[in-house]
């Protein structure tokens, strides 16, 4: 039919430009990556098919294992506190007063900073020779703590920095979620004599499950890919104590030029993120199914 054909052309004219870029800059590299990961490849175009050898190497690489555990520790140190703090702040700030509006602005503010600025700021808070913490400790007669060069402190220091930086977006999502809860539910609950805790447990929390899931999924995926903070603040040191998976990918590809191996690690990370996200999604939706 002539008309159907013209409709199809108009349709493709609208979605075509995006799909073209999408295919060229996302789909093609995605497929290229899978191929490269089966090759002994370097940055300059050398390719030699070696099957699963890169993956085998990854599984027995002690540096990768250390980076994996560092990343996992960071994720666990960041995601749960971040979620809880952001939710509490959103609950406290979800009201119409001027003070709440100002404080919302304050808590959102760090999210607009780039990782470079964040690490720049925190370097000169944490550094023992001129940092803000050191200045404070000095004022009360204590010796400075080398947060960024002591293996025991370096992971928590990165976690705190990331928490400070990442707080704004989850608060925003939670506030948006809370705004969606119809007010008459709260009025009904008040008429039923429900206390604050009951209202939170039985009404607020179930109403924002989806937001909660979204926040946890997004943050987990983000923190599993944590990179800039580690690269800029500690360079992965001391002795690899703060090397993350993506930092290792960066080192392998742009330091050692072993593109094939780096790509294989990236594919493993991709699989891991997909798996964790799907598990989280399944866990939450399964419970929803139980409820119904």
């Amino acid at each position: 039919m002539n008309r159907a054909r013209r409709d199809a052309l108009v349709g493709y004219a609208f979605v075509g430009p995006f799909l073209l870029v999408y295919a060229a800059v996302l789909v093609v590299p995605l497929l290229m990556g899978i191929v490269i990961s089966f090759n002994n490849a370097d940055l300059f175009g050398r390719r030699e098919w070696i099957g699963l050898a890169n993956y085998a190497q990854a599984l027995s690489d002690p540096v990768l294992r250390q980076a994996f555990f560092n990343t996992l520790t960071l994720t666990l140190l960041i995601v749960p506190p971040l979620t809880v703090i952001a939710l509490l702040l959103a609950l406290a700030l979800n009201r119409n007063t001027r003070l709440a509006a100002v404080l919302r602005g304050v808590f959102f503010s760090s999210l607009v900073l780039s990782v470079t600025i964040v690490t720049l700021i925190w370097r000169f808070i944490l550094t023992p020779d001129a940092g803000l913490v050191a200045v404070g400790l000095q004022a009360v007669g204590q010796p400075p703590i080398p947060f960024l060069s002591d293996p025991a402190y370096v992971i928590p220091a990165l976690a705190v920095t990331t928490l400070w930086w990442s707080l704004g977006f989850p608060i925003m999502l939670f506030l948006a979620g809370l705004q969606q809860v119809p007010g008459d539910i709260y009025e009904a609950a008040a008429l039923d004599g429900a206390g604050r805790w009951t209202v939170f447990r039985r009404i607020t929390l179930p109403s924002i499950r989806r937001t909660l899931l979204l926040v946890v999924m997004l943050q987990t995926a983000a923190q599993l890919q944590i990179f800039g903070q580690a690269q800029l603040l500690t360079g992965g040191g001391p002795g690899g104590a703060s090397r993350t998976i993506v930092l290792y990918i960066f080192e392998v590809s742009f330091g050692r030029w072993e593109l094939g191996y780096a790509t294989a690690i990236a594919e493993l990370l991709f699989g891991m993120i997909l798996l964790v996200t799907l598990l989280q999604y399944w866990f939450v939706t399964r419970q929803e199914g139980d409820r119904a």
Partner: protein, 279 residues
């Protein structure tokens, strides 16, 4: 848009105090940075604690404009972020309208393929993309820095949802008013998506402005550094640079444009997020 939460309740004094302490923790690092940026490098070398006391100076800011690359990086960042934002808005609006309102073969399949893109982390594509761009000679160029941000599936998803929420009666009224598909899109529907455009625009600008991983590996000559990469290199060379106060002035300087964008659009962002991001 209506206030639905129990917002009538006032904050209890305890919660207020806790919030203020929290706000202090949030602000302290920024104030510290601000203070350091107004101190001369020499004074800080002796004792960074002196930042809390005068004399303060503007010399670090003056230094930024004298022969440093910071202004060049700022311009690069502005070009890349603005280009990314315009590109994303144009592509997402066109595609969103197409997916929401037009009928063509494989529409559902294509939309699902786009949605799958939401699950692809940057790590899965960044290295081969670096190879691809090297082959095409796109590194150390503005297109090379802008193109990757145009693949964002979220923008298409977001705009599709937004177009779907507009009543189809409006399209029909416009068709009866003799509007062509293009007039309908341009004059009737697009103006209604302004809140979504603002939100998507701000987040795209922010994401592009703060992107680090891609420009780090794509822009290797300092002429094409964005601010994030440029400041990172300055930070790495901390020992060799002219000093702490100058670094901090750079940080403050680099944050100003993004703060302006953020403050200007804060209301739009929060409002549109309430409508669409959380369904």
């Amino acid at each position: 848009m209506s206030e639905t939460a129990p917002s009538s309740q006032r904050l209890s004094p305890l919660v207020t105090v806790l919030l203020l302490i929290g706000a202090g923790i949030m602000l302290m690092p920024m104030l510290w940075t601000l203070l350091l940026s107004f101190k001369s490098n020499a004074a800080l070398m002796a004792d960074s604690g002196s930042a809390f006391m005068p004399p303060w100076t503007l010399e670090n800011y003056a230094a930024i404009f004298q022969g440093s690359l910071t202004t060049r990086w700022l311009i690069n960042s502005l070009i890349v972020s603005t280009g990314s934002t315009i590109g994303v808005l144009v592509l997402s609006s066109l595609a969103g309208y197409g997916f929401a309102r037009l009928d063509f073969p494989f529409r559902r399949t294509l939309f699902v393929i786009v949605l799958l893109g939401l699950a692809v982390p940057e790590q899965a594509v960044i290295l081969p993309r670096h190879q691809l761009f090297a082959m095409l000679g796109l590194h150390n160029s503005y297109p090379g820095l802008i193109l990757p941000s145009l693949t964002g599936a979220f923008g298409v998803f977001f705009m599709t949802q937004y177009f779907r929420a507009i009543p189809p009666e409006l399209d029909e009224a416009a068709l009866l008013d003799g509007a062509s598909r293009l007039t309908l899109f341009w004059k009737v529907l697009l103006p209604l998506t302004w809140p979504a455009q603002a939100t998507l625009g701000v987040f795209t600008f922010l994401g592009s402005w703060n992107d680090y991983w891609w420009p780090l590996i794509s822009a290797t000559t300092s002429d094409y550094f964005t601010l994030t990469v440029g400041l990172a290199s300055a930070q790495m060379n901390y020992a060799q640079t002219s000093g702490l106060g100058f670094l901090m002035a750079q940080a403050v300087f680099a944050s100003i444009p993004i703060l302006v964008v953020y403050i200007a659009f804060q209301k739009q962002i929060v409002r549109a997020m309430a409508g669409t991001a959380v369904r």
